[in-house]
Amino acid sequence: MSEPPRIRIVAFLCKWCSYAGADLAGVNRTKYLPNVLPIKVPCSARMDPELVLRAFSEGAAGVLLAGCHPGDCHYLKGNYKALRRFKLLKKFVSQMGIEDERLRLEWISASEGSRYAEVVNDMTTKVRTLGPLNWRREIAIEA
């Protein structure tokens, strides 16, 4: 029996809080599942819905967005802007038939290394159960 394909979850982490939180998980040697691949962005507000959709179309089995806790944004209110966009995007994505667990927005602060690990493990486990998205093959979106 061949091994199931490795699922990949793309994580867009804001560089002030969530990327630093992920760093802290490393410094603390907190072990977590290897399927979430981080991309550093300046702020959760940099997250263009287009980037999320492109991630799904390029073969990501899930997309994690993470930013500073409400009120703690380095750019004052970027995370609120991200949250508003996320709500719309979430509706759109579910109408496209993509399961709820595949797209998440989380607030992870620079001191929450263990929380980053928990989110990664939880999301990976859920997305693994769903399996790969294969959106590219099934819907064949023109990039």
Binding site: G26, P42, R46, A60, H74
Partner: protein
């Protein structure tokens, strides 16, 4: 495009889990990669030289280093490639230590993830563009928030170096908690005697402008050029006229609890916080003043020969412009009521360590006499360590100062009350520090009875005649392995240190983060202990975590040195990440205008299109994500670059 890829072993930190040779071999097969190597320590001098030599030999115009987190060594490698003639923004780091080797159990999976991250970095660097840092001039003035020992020290250091200092203190006097202490451990220096000269120097120093009884309301701008709004609370006394003579205080009929003596005594409604207060000016407490309550009295006006009383004072806003900020906002003592089993607030003779400081102080409520609430001298006293600290129910951390504070109190008790029996209940004795262990031995030699065990509870219900009228501590002496009852007259709870109540608000105002326990987060726990992730904002003293006076002073000096280094250079280099607009795509819809928190976007009145004001742009990218025409993009985080990174991950 010619890219060099370097995989760091980091000793065994990475190579112990990730198959670094395999990753390097894989990298060599990626598009545009002309050289891929792995090396034991990329950040070492030979490691950096390796990159430089390759840049010259192969004519590289892109470099990827897969090593630790970019937070750690990105600047190191950017400098290295710059020295070899490459633009530092043609460099990308893949974090395969913090994000791979340290967090992944299975070596095969770790190697796979490392390959994906390296591929992402290679794809990204192929589309990166040379950028130049922005240099901004640094205003030669600093805002210090908090006038405790840390704030005072930082202010004095900066002022001595010739910089303009604004010291903001929310209370009517500077001095902070240190002004309340009687003696300091382990030397037993009188706290006031070593602090007061520094407090006086603050008002004497012509470079320092003290904004007492004031709070920071708002801060905008960025490193080098902060604009700060400070609110001066009304004292109802004109500070320029008040001479501090104190006649108003003697005549005032209003009474309120004295904050400086922790409510153990009363003060007048018009008062000077303590005899050595700086500035030595009276202040009226609105809540208890008869004029404000009932519109009567005005006795102070009658007796003030300087005519300083001004009931019409209103809060006043002051605008400041500074290049840097030092936060020294201190701590809050733990509220002992949160440990109800010790009966604080119920038994009058259970007091906190801070209250005991006031009891032994000559300016305290008893004039320096250690007495019970009924005026008798105690025959026996128990000191309890770790109240509110090292406990999952309150705070898990060690408050660090309480062991030494307790030992100091044991000593002071023996000094003030001859023949007193002192029990000292500790979990572990933590006397790390210069001269601290020696002090511990000295106190043991003075006959203090050391008991290793945390009292379970304190009761006033006696079980035999010797316990009558006493407070009984029930504790397990863990060395004897037996539960014992200790009847005493007085209990001193050595309370821990907590983040101050307004720490959250302050963190928001200055956009700095806090750790889970509420204290301010430093940029790096080892190498940048007084910096915050926000450039130009530094931290000093107990606002960063529990610490004693020598440590607070050392941190304050460190924060001042950071500030002065930045000011001495005269400019600060900002990352070149700014938004750019493609005018051919901009429709002038204006969606972005509301998204920008910094007013960095403005509509050109002639064309109706939007312009980016580069100097104001902070590079968050909120406008880029919001632009419906894709007319905006962010240097360093262009959509095509982020997409490339993503494609690398998913390839």
């Amino acid at each position: 495009m010619k890219i060099g890829v370097y995989i760091c072993h980091c000793g065994t930190n990475i190579a112990g889990v990730v198959d670094v040779h395999q990753v390097a071999e894989y990298a060599a097969t990626l598009p545009n990669v002309v050289v891929a190597r792995d090396y034991k320590y990329m950040c070492s001098e030979p490691g950096q030289n390796l990159i430089g030599d390759d840049i010259r030999q192969f004519g590289l115009d892109g470099v990827v280093v897969a090593a630790c987190s970019p937070t750690m060594h990105e600047p190191t490698f950017q400098t290295a490639v710059f020295r070899a003639g490459m633009n530092p923004y043609m460099f990308q780091m893949a974090s395969i230590r913090e994000h791979v080797s340290w967090v992944t159990l299975d070596p095969a999976e770790a190697t796979e993830k490392a390959k994906e991250l390296v591929e992402a970095a290679v794809f990204r660097v192929s589309l990166q563009e040379p950028l130049e840092k922005r240099r901004i001039p640094v205003k030669q003035a600093v805002l210090v928030v908090g006038g405790g020992i840390a704030g005072i020290e930082a202010a004095l250091k900066c002022a001595d170096a010739g910089k303009k200092v604004y010291l903001v203190e929310k209370e009517p006097s500077i001095g902070g908690h240190m002004a309340m202490f009687d003696k300091t451990f382990p030397t037993l220096d009188c706290s006031q005697c070593i602090l007061t000269p520094k407090m006086v120097e603050v008002v004497r120093n012509e470079n320092i402008e003290l904004l007492d009884y004031s709070e920071v309301k708002k801060i905008s701008g960025h490193v080098g050029d902060f604009k700060v709004t400070v609110v001066r609370k009304p004292r109802y006394v004109d500070s320029t006229k008040c001479t501090g003579c104190g006649i108003c205080v003697t005549k005032c009929p209003g009474r309120a609890l004295d904050e400086f003596n922790l409510g153990m005594t009363k003060r007048k409604s018009i008062y000077i916080p303590f005899p050595q207060a700086v500035p030595l000016k009276a202040v009226i407490d609105r809540d208890s003043c008869l004029y404000f309550k009932k519109n009567i009295c005005k006795v102070c006006i009658k007796f003030c020969s300087a005519g300083a009383i001004d009931f019409e004072q209103r809060p006043e806003e002051v605008e400041l412009e500074v290049g840097a900020v030092i936060l020294a906002t201190g701590f809050k003592p733990f509220d002992a009521r949160r440990v109800p089993e010790y009966g604080y607030g119920k038994f009058p003779n259970v007091i906190t360590s801070l209250e005991f400081e006031r009891l032994t102080s000559a300016s305290g409520p008893t004039g320096g006499k250690v007495v019970l609430k009924d005026g008798r001298e105690p025959e026996s006293v128990a000191i309890v360590h770790c109240v509110g600290s090292r406990n999952v129910n309150n705070n898990i951390y060690c408050s660090k100062i309480c062991c030494m504070q307790s030992l100091k109190h044991a000593h002071l008790l023996k000094e003030h009350v001859p023949g007193v029996t002192v029990y000292d209940f500790f979990i572990d004795m933590r006397a790390g520090g210069k001269g601290y262990e020696e002090f511990y031995r000295r106190v043991m030699g003075e006959g203090t009875i050391m008991i290793r065990g945390r009292p379970a509870y304190i009761t006033d219900v006696p079980v035999n005649s010797s316990e009558k009228g006493k407070l009984i501590l029930v504790a397990e002496d863990t060395i004897l392995s037996s539960v014992m009852r200790y009847p005493v007259d007085m209990v001193i709870l050595s309370i821990g240190l907590e983040a101050s109540d307004d720490a959250k608000e302050i963190a928001r105002t200055f956009t700095c983060s806090r750790t889970a326990d509420g204290f301010f987060l430093e940029k790096h726990p080892k190498l940048a202990p007084v910096s915050t992730p926000t450039a130009g904002v530094f931290i000093a003293g107990a606002c960063q975590g529990p610490k004693d006076i020598p440590e607070s002073v050392a941190q304050a000096s460190g924060a001042a040195a950071e500030t002065l280094a930045m000011m001495g250079k005269g400019y600060f280099e900002l990352e070149p990440y700014v938004a750019r607009i493609n005018e051919e795509l901009c429709s002038g819809c204006g969606v972005c205008l509301n998204l920008c928190a910094y007013n960095a976007l403005e509509r050109d009145p002639q064309t109706g299109l939007v312009n980016v004001v580069e100097a104001l742009c902070q590079g968050c990218g909120a406008c880029v994500a919001g632009c419906p025409s894709n007319a905006l993009d962010l240097d360093g985080y262009k959509t095509k670059q982020v997409l490339a990174e993503m494609e690398g991950i998913l390839a």
